[in-house]
Symmetry: C2
Subunit: 419 residues, 2 copies
Amino acid sequence: MTENHAAMIEQLGRKARTAARALAASAPEQRNRALSAAAQAIRQAEPEVLAANRRDLDAGRERGLSSALLDRLRLDESRLEGIAAGLEAIAGLADPVGRVLAEWTRPNGLRIRRVAVPIGVIGVIYESRPNVTADAAGLCLKSGNAVILRGGSEAVHSNRALHAALVEGLKAAALPAESVQLLPTQDRAAVGALLAAHRWLDLVVPRGGKSLVARVQQDARVPVLAHLDGNNHLYIHAAADPDMAVEVAVNAKMRRPGICGALETLLVDRARLDLVPALVDRFGEMGCELRADDGVRAVDERLAPADASDWETEYLDAILAVRVVDGPDEALAHIERYGSGHTDGILTEDEAVAEDFLARLDSAIAVHNASTQFADGGEFGFGAEIGIATGRLHARGPVGVEQLTTFQYRVFGSGQTRP
Amino acid sequence: MTENHAAMIEQLGRKARTAARALAASAPEQRNRALSAAAQAIRQAEPEVLAANRRDLDAGRERGLSSALLDRLRLDESRLEGIAAGLEAIAGLADPVGRVLAEWTRPNGLRIRRVAVPIGVIGVIYESRPNVTADAAGLCLKSGNAVILRGGSEAVHSNRALHAALVEGLKAAALPAESVQLLPTQDRAAVGALLAAHRWLDLVVPRGGKSLVARVQQDARVPVLAHLDGNNHLYIHAAADPDMAVEVAVNAKMRRPGICGALETLLVDRARLDLVPALVDRFGEMGCELRADDGVRAVDERLAPADASDWETEYLDAILAVRVVDGPDEALAHIERYGSGHTDGILTEDEAVAEDFLARLDSAIAVHNASTQFADGGEFGFGAEIGIATGRLHARGPVGVEQLTTFQYRVFGSGQTRP
């Protein structure tokens, strides 16, 4: 990090602080107007945004980006309309700011109110998907926060074009243009300066792969809402409904094997090993490879063997590890040892066992008789999410607009002095 | 930090994790039993604790500690009884674990419950007061968290004696002795290793002076609940009740000038400069020095002049800065520039002005017509506090047992799969 970078971040940070104060004082209607106007501006700027995106795609091809990366980077009419509609959907959410979270009166007559307020200035650091530029800005704006965005260098032109439209929306609603700022350089040292800027940044949200998140966690001098692994488990308990267990497990793995809420290891109670042939059939039909321990393989010889590394692996692919366990305690011990605290659950018809199991799981999301793929802000009813937090503080699980607020105590008295 | 320190922290950390799981699964009655038994053990160990404390005091005198430091370090029968009674008071608080914070049902029938759960393993780093050993351990235990304590080297024998009594309490309740661990070395590098141990520590709480807190914030790779400055303000608005304004201001400064909730700068609206002589009289009677800007001094020539540094100073002493402002906007601008976001407020009979002012304050605690000295966990009804958090995330303001919990989502289904 050079002094130049620190100076640049200070400049951005001061503007963001000023904008954050204006946002905190703004009416929800004003912020919603900015979101709707930004959506319109994105639609109107379609030719410019798609042209900018073509520049990014051309440069990406020249640099030899993989087809998967190029696909993430690609915008078209339909994806752009999705981005615009996403901003309108965020505008339509309930206002998260000003909610009275609690209120009580003390014996001395002091009335204490806990009120949701914006966090302040949020940094969002992400990779190649340009839609994050609009999504993250929209969620921060809705919750009254100023945001400093740093997208991947592959998407630099797309991000600038989308940012210009977002600024148009802010201006249309008479909100400061600096409510949404884009880091003006792709220099990696600038990210280091941003992560160290605890005076200007109240929170940083990394959105991307493990190495990005790990670097942010290592370097940040500001609080981080990080999304780490989702090495998720389901435990088929002795009292599980057979058909439900198979269908929920298949959905948890195969609906979209690449998302963080996807199932990675299935734990089968010894008393439910009778389900193994059905599991092998159904997962086989779906094209999913099963890797099992000896206890499970003894039931069905079609299964490939798992080794120790399988329990630790977040495949994010059509591969599932399967292991036999002797009861809930052993299932919990396995999850405790190998799980990542994202989303884990149990399949059982025994409500008491389920309540106890969920309470003993040390996971952000603990699930009974449902697919782990419900680990999602939209499915929780949050409307939209900036990610799934796997840390333990402030927010755990889906991070939507409410989770992008903090709170303030407002104490109302009538002249009370403390004795 | 050496490898030895990291290995030692790993050893402590593993034990703490195991203890934390046992605590999370324990019944509240069991944790309360441990607290009560620890209180009894402290009473029974009075001769040993006081003897250990005398060793610390003797060593402190030899090392030339100030009388203020020696007083903080000193235990006697009455202070020890206070420590024991404090643990019993914590035992009597409502259980913060398992509270249902929210519950809703999705259109697909999924029932989502947000439940308070312990944070896990908490590190508490503090200075010379040995009572913190028992207070911090008690609050962590009550909230189901394992704790690793690191007290000041001046109090090492006192802390060990108190720790032994706490462990007796844990054993009497059949809870793991490792629920409360004391860092076995006073080596400062061990603190560095602790602060870096994000695998073993979920949160660190520094309790002490600015340099300690700053060091922890700089070095920590785990979330920090820090208490920074309390450069607190009250603004006497044009519509303030004259008598109330004077009495509240005097209490806010002079009840205990050395606590973090003490008033440090009084802002007087130009329309209420008529109060200045009464303020000078009352503060003078109380032995408080006033330092004022020219606008205030023009009213009363008895006043000493303030310079720019006074607005930035947390005196923690019988000194108060006083400044004239032209209306709420100027008061807010002053607080924004010089305040520390701890506790600030307004004195006015105009409810609408008060609501607006509080909403625009960027302070953890915003006060209307009451003393800033109410910034205290006990006064909020939290029963006991480990400190006042001045950060923006997870907890702001007083940190009691509820603030030492986080939450988990428990999702109850009936076989739902995600389409």
